[in-house]
Structures are given as structure tokens and as C-alpha cells.
């Protein structure tokens, strides 16, 4: 953990207040993410997890507060700066949010075409790499989203989010709607990509197994604010909701699964170093 503690902050939200009508969702919320970590966001239904994520990526306008990404206040950016910023993050929406009229390859191509000037053949080669990296079979490239299973749609959505080699990836419930095998494979994939590409991952999730398997730190949304810490730190919090969340039957089962050696063996090798030492987590613009 020590190394990650020294990493610079890439997302810094301070004194955020969001409300819909008269309903205040966040109030005086502070939240920050360090480079190269996997940050989980959890909370009860309606506690504003997705709203927080959507606010950071600019889909919701906050009532007040400051959001800095890569050290820049997102509310003061010009259009060009916003576009440049968008090229540095990728978002995976709940069901992939693939463009239904385009094939998987064209979906992945869309951000590349929009943001860069590469030749058709180079684009095609990059698409092939992305498809393989997210674990899709080659013949998925020419399929339409409606022809894919839920898990494959999420993988394709992830490939599109990573098309421009995003530095931050936002995931909205990445394992929701997947069967347990698919969900755990998706967790592995995220961990693996995070390690090889040096991604910073912010994920909203309900899945306790995912939390234990891949998150370095977890933010719990409680009473319109967040409590941040590793799972071990959070469990020591005296809050009843956190207590019930992590120590309820599901929480205990997930913890047991994490510590069981058989389960750990299925994770990619990079994962075994998590929690104590993440020096292997690379960073592409840092040499």
C-alpha cells in the first residue's frame, strides 16, 4: 500500500453538493482517487453512487463544489480541453451502452476515429488488439451488440472505453447481470488490464466479491458523504450500515472466498501482490 499512498491524486472532488429538485443526494462530499488504484464505490440503493460517477464525468451538473481531474477543474475547461480530457478517460456503462447500429469493431473505432487521425489499416489492427485484450473471440468483431451475450457486451463496452488507452476507467456496476463465473472472469480481466496498462479504475458496484477481489480502496456513500479506506479499515468503522454491509452473511462469504487459497489461485498472478505491494502496477507516462 505504501507506494500507492504516494501516488498523485488524479481525481479530486471537494465539497460536492448535488441535488435533484429538493432532494439532496450529496452534501459537502469529498472524494479523491490516486493514480493506479482501483477504487470501489458502494452504498445503499439510492445513495447516489451512480450520480457521483456521472457527476465526475460531467453528465450531471453539481449544484456546488469542485471537481478536479488530472489537476484541472472540469467546470472551467474550454470545449477543446474537455475533449482532450475525454480522450484520457473511458466509461463502461451498465449494459455496455454500445451503439446498437454499429458492429463491435465499429463501436471500438468510434472514439479512435473521432479523436485521432490514423490510417484505416492501423485502426483495424488496434481494434483487433483491443478485442483480444478484453477477451472477446475474433469473430465478435463483426457482430452487432444485439447478437452478443450480456458478458460479451460488457467486454465490448470495455474495449471501447479503452480504445484510446484511457488512463482512468469508470465502471458502472461492471458485474451486475453476469453469472458468477462471468462476473469473476470480468473481475480478473479488470485486474489484469489495470496491471498491464496502469489504469486508474473507479467502479460503482454492489458485488462484494468484486470489492474483495480487485479494489484497493473502497468509498462508502453514507449520509450524503463518503467514507474511504481499505476494506480492513472500513470494517473497523463503528457505522452500523458498514458493519452490516461487510459483516452480513454475503460480506462474510465474499471475504471467505477471497482468503480461500483455491479461489485466489484462479486470479491472475498480478493479483496476488495486491494489498501489500503493487509496485508492478505500471504507469505509462511515468518513466
Amino acid at each position: 500500500m505504501t507506494l500507492k499512498d504516494e501516488q498523485p491524486t488524479v481525481i479530486d472532488v471537494s465539497r460536492l453538493r448535488s441535488k435533484f429538485g429538493t432532494q439532496v443526494v450529496h452534501d459537502q462530499l469529498d472524494f479523491s482517487v490516486r493514480r493506479g488504484e482501483v477504487m470501489g464505490i458502494v452504498g445503499g440503493s439510492g445513495s447516489g453512487k451512480s450520480v457521483l460517477l456521472r457527476t465526475i464525468i460531467g453528465l450531471n451538473r453539481p449544484s456546488s463544489g469542485r471537481i478536479e481531474v488530472f489537476g484541472k477543474d472540469t467546470s472551467t475547461l474550454s470545449n477543446d480541453e474537455t475533449r482532450a480530457l475525454q480522450a484520457r478517460w473511458g466509461v463502461l456503462f451498465q449494459d455496455g451502452a454500445l451503439f446498437s447500429s454499429l458492429t463491435v469493431a465499429q463501436n471500438i473505432e468510434a472514439p479512435i476515429k473521432e479523436h485521432t487521425r490514423l490510417t484505416k489499416s492501423l485502426r483495424q489492427e488496434l481494434i483487433e488488439i483491443k478485442i483480444s485484450m478484453v477477451g472477446l473471440p475474433p469473430d465478435a468483431a463483426n457482430k452487432y451488440p444485439s447478437e452478443l451475450s450480456g458478458g460479451m457486451r460488457k467486454r465490448a463496452g470495455l474495449a471501447r472505453a479503452l480504445a484510446l488507452d484511457a488512463e482512468i476507467v469508470f465502471l458502472d456496476e461492471p458485474t451486475a447481470g453476469l453469472d458468477p463465473i462471468g462476473a469473476s472472469k470480468f473481475d480478473d480481466l479488470i485486474r489484469e488490464l489495470q496491471a498491464t496498462l496502469g489504469l486508474t479504475v473507479v467502479m460503482v458496484t454492489h458485488d462484494l466479491d468484486s470489492l474483495y477481489a480487485i479494489c484497493d480502496r473502497v468509498s462508502v456513500l453514507l449520509d450524503k458523504r463518503v467514507k474511504v479506506g481499505t476494506i480492513a479499515e472500513l470494517i473497523r468503522e463503528p457505522d452500523p450500515w458498514i458493519d452490516e454491509y461487510f459483516k452480513g452473511p454475503r460480506g462474510r462469504a465474499a471475504e471467505a472466498a477471497k482468503t480461500r487459497p483455491a479461489a485466489a489461485g484462479t486470479l491472475p498472478p498480478t493479483d496476488e501482490s495486491t494489498g501489500t505491494d503493487t509496485t508492478t502496477s505500471p504507469n505509462r507516462s511515468v518513466r
Partner: protein, 385 residues
């Protein structure tokens, strides 16, 4: 690992330089080898191979950034050189660069190319065939549904307690009462237009007074009912499809069936019966508004007073003309509601298909209404009304 700030690499280009030393190619890479910049060098770097080279060294010491796109261009070059029998050695690559290069090497797979489009003519014929088949199938299914709906309607008439009164009244309000402003306005304007155009032409023969006949026959026999039907198809027919389709997407229809509620009774009949009941009333209202528009225009442009208009109206047409229009109303209403509900029930479980079926419902309903209107015209001329 040295840490820089959170800023991206400041290099705004990527480049390489090469030199040949005794058959050994040395390539020094510098700058940001990232997706935004590699486009400029990706072709150039392919021209590296030249005769007399036996080995190559890629020096990555000076690159300030590398992502999968940059790594791919390097990996591609390496594999192209290897194919020529030239061994490539990487020098001074950082750990992270090596991981990235390995990942990219491992993940290069060829995806099958997209199927090339068929011959244009074949494509057109194929499309024509598919569409014709679909059209016939849709016609058959609609006929099927017509039969089913008729049976259910008969059953409902025999057992009136099956009628959902609240739903029926609510549907009558939505598709009847709430349509009054738009139906009235459009009919009024069409009456105005008919009178104005008629007056213009008929004045040439000094037969201005026959403008009244034109307006009366036009509005009562055709325009009133046809406009009402088209507005109702666009307004209520589409709403039926969208409402029922959304329920289908939410599995509400499935839920109904498991509880033992028949969607035909609960959803289709109130809409069908409701529309059949209100459509004649709407048509009557449209007729009156059309005549009013004609009368006002006649007064303004031809100085025909309302009293004169009334007298001429009475002389011009019999009560038959009025009934010819009204009699079509329940038939059109039945068709519009039938098509709307049918397309709604055909929605598959995606939000996309709600939109598609709604469009279909409106197009089909208007098509059928105009087709039936033509058939009615033929029928009326045969029986001489």
C-alpha cells in the same frame, strides 16, 4: 519508479532516428509513442528495412510515453523485420514498456474481415423478396389478430361484465376528448382552404355560390372523416403501440397472464371499443368545424352570409352525404385501434423495438384507412349514394 506530476507527457510528437553500423541497424525512439501521435510515423517506420542488414537494435531510452497503439507500431515493425530474417533486440526498455509490448504481442489476432456487400442488383432483389415476404406475413398475422379480436369482441358483447368500465372511459377521454382541439383546428383550416380555393376557381364561371356545395361535399363525405382518422392514427394509434409495447418490455403483459388477466380484455378491448365509440363523435365535430371554416371564408371572401350558406347547404346535399362520412368512422376506428394494439403486442423485449413498431403502426393504420376509404368510395358509387 520516478514520479512525475499528474500531467500527461508533455511531448507532443513521436519520432525515431536510424543509422546503420556494419550491417547493424540502430533505431532510437523518442517522444510520446501514443495513439495521438503514432499516426505520423506508422508508415515511415515500415521503410526501415534495407539490404545488407543482419540485425537491429531498438533503443527505447528516450521515449516519454507509450500506449498500446505505440507499442503495436513497434511490435509490428519488429515482426516485419523478423520475417525478413533480421533479429531485433530491444534496448533500455523500461519494465512497463516491456509489459505493454508483451501484452500487445500476445494479443495480436486477426479478426475475420467484414463480409463484403453482395452485388447491388442481387442485394436489391434480395431486399425486395424479404420485404414482400414480410409484408405478406404481416398481412396474414394482422388478419389473424382481426379474427381473434372479433371473437373477443363478440364474447365481450355477450358478457358485458367483462368490459373494464374505468379503462374504457379513460381511453375515451384520452383518444376522444383530448383530441378535440387538434381535430377541430385542422378541420376548420381545411374548411377555410377548400372555400378559398373553390371561390377562386368558381368565380371564373360566376358560380361562386357553388363554393358552398364544394365545401359541403368535400368536408362531409371525405375530408372530415379522413382527417380525423389520420390525426387519430398518429395520435392514439401510436400511443396504443407505445403503451402496450412499453408494458411488454417491462414484462407487465407476462405478469398479467400469470395472474389470469387476459391482455385482450384488459388492454385491447377498452381501446378498441373506446375508439369505435368516440370516432363518430369526433367525425361529427370535425364536420361541423369544417363547415364553420368554409362558412366564415365564404362570408369573408364571397360575401355569402351565414343564412345564405345554410340555405345553399340544405339545397346542395341530402342527409346521405353526412351519413356517408359518419358511417366510415367506426370502421376506421376499429382498424386504427386494431393495428395499434397488434403492433404493441408484437414488441419484443427491447426498447428499440417499441419505436420501430410505433412507426409501423402509424404507417400501417394510415395506409389501411386510405385503402378502406377508396373501397368505400367504390362501394358507394356502386350502390349509388
Amino acid at each position: 519508479m520516478a514520479l512525475t506530476g499528474v500531467e500527461a507527457s508533455t511531448a507532443d510528437r513521436c519520432s525515431f532516428s536510424s543509422e546503420t553500423l556494419q550491417g547493424r541497424l540502430v533505431v532510437a525512439f523518442s517522444g510520446a509513442w501514443t495513439i495521438g501521435f503514432v499516426g505520423t510515423v506508422s508508415q515511415e517506420i515500415r521503410n526501415l528495412k534495407s539490404d545488407g542488414i543482419t540485425s537491429a537494435v531498438f533503443d527505447l531510452a528516450d521515449i516519454s510515453g507509450l500506449d498500446t497503439a505505440g507499442a503495436w507500431v513497434i511490435v509490428r515493425t519488429i515482426s516485419e523485420l523478423s520475417a525478413e530474417g533480421i533479429d531485433v533486440e530491444l534496448q533500455k526498455a523500461s519494465e512497463t514498456s516491456k509489459i505493454l509490448l508483451n501484452t500487445v504481442t500476445k494479443n495480436h489476432v486477426e479478426c475475420p474481415p467484414a463480409a463484403p456487400p453482395d452485388n447491388f442488383l442481387v442485394e436489391v432483389l434480395h431486399h425486395l423478396g424479404v420485404e414482400t415476404y414480410e409484408f405478406c406475413k404481416a398481412g396474414r398475422d394482422l388478419l389473424n389478430f382481426l379474427g381473434y379480436a372479433t371473437i373477443v369482441l363478440g364474447r365481450t358483447i355477450i358478457q358485458p361484465r367483462r368490459i373494464r368500465v374505468v379503462a374504457l372511459v379513460s381511453q375515451m377521454e384520452q383518444s376522444g376528448l383530448n383530441a378535440l382541439p387538434i381535430v377541430g383546428l385542422i378541420s376548420f383550416l381545411v374548411g377555410v382552404v377548400l372555400a378559398y380555393q373553390g371561390a377562386d376557381q368558381l368565380a371564373k364561371f360566376g358560380a361562386q355560390i357553388y363554393t358552398v356545395n364544394l365545401v359541403a361535399v368535400g368536408v362531409l363525405r371525405e375530408m372530415g372523416i379522413l382527417l380525423t382518422a389520420i390525426i387519430v392514427a398518429g395520435r392514439s394509434g401510436s400511443a396504443y403501440t407505445a403503451q402496450i409495447g412499453t408494458m411488454k418490455v417491462n414484462e407487465e403483459i407476462d405478469a398479467m397472464e400469470t395472474i389470469g388477466l387476459d391482455p385482450m380484455d384488459v388492454l385491447v378491448m377498452p381501446r378498441l371499443i373506446g375508439l369505435v365509440l368516440v370516432m363518430p363523435l369526433l367525425t361529427f365535430y370535425a364536420d361541423m368545424m369544417g363547415l364553420l371554416g368554409g362558412a366564415i371564408m365564404s362570408y369573408v371572401s364571397l360575401d355569402i352570409s351565414f343564412a345564405q350558406f345554410g340555405t345553399q347547404l340544405k339545397a346542395a346535399i341530402g342527409v346521405n352525404s353526412f351519413w356517408v362520412g359518419i358511417i366510415k368512422a367506426p370502421v376506421f376506428a376499429f382498424i386504427i385501434a386494431l393495428v395499434g394494439c397488434y403492433e404493441g403486442l408484437r414488441v419484443s423485449r427491447s426498447a428499440e423495438s417499441v419505436g420501430k413498431q410505433t412507426t409501423r403502426a402509424v404507417v400501417e393504420a394510415i395506409f389501411l384507412v386510405i385503402l378502406l376509404d377508396a373501397l368505400f368510395s367504390v362501394l358507394f358509387s356502386i350502390i349509388g349514394i
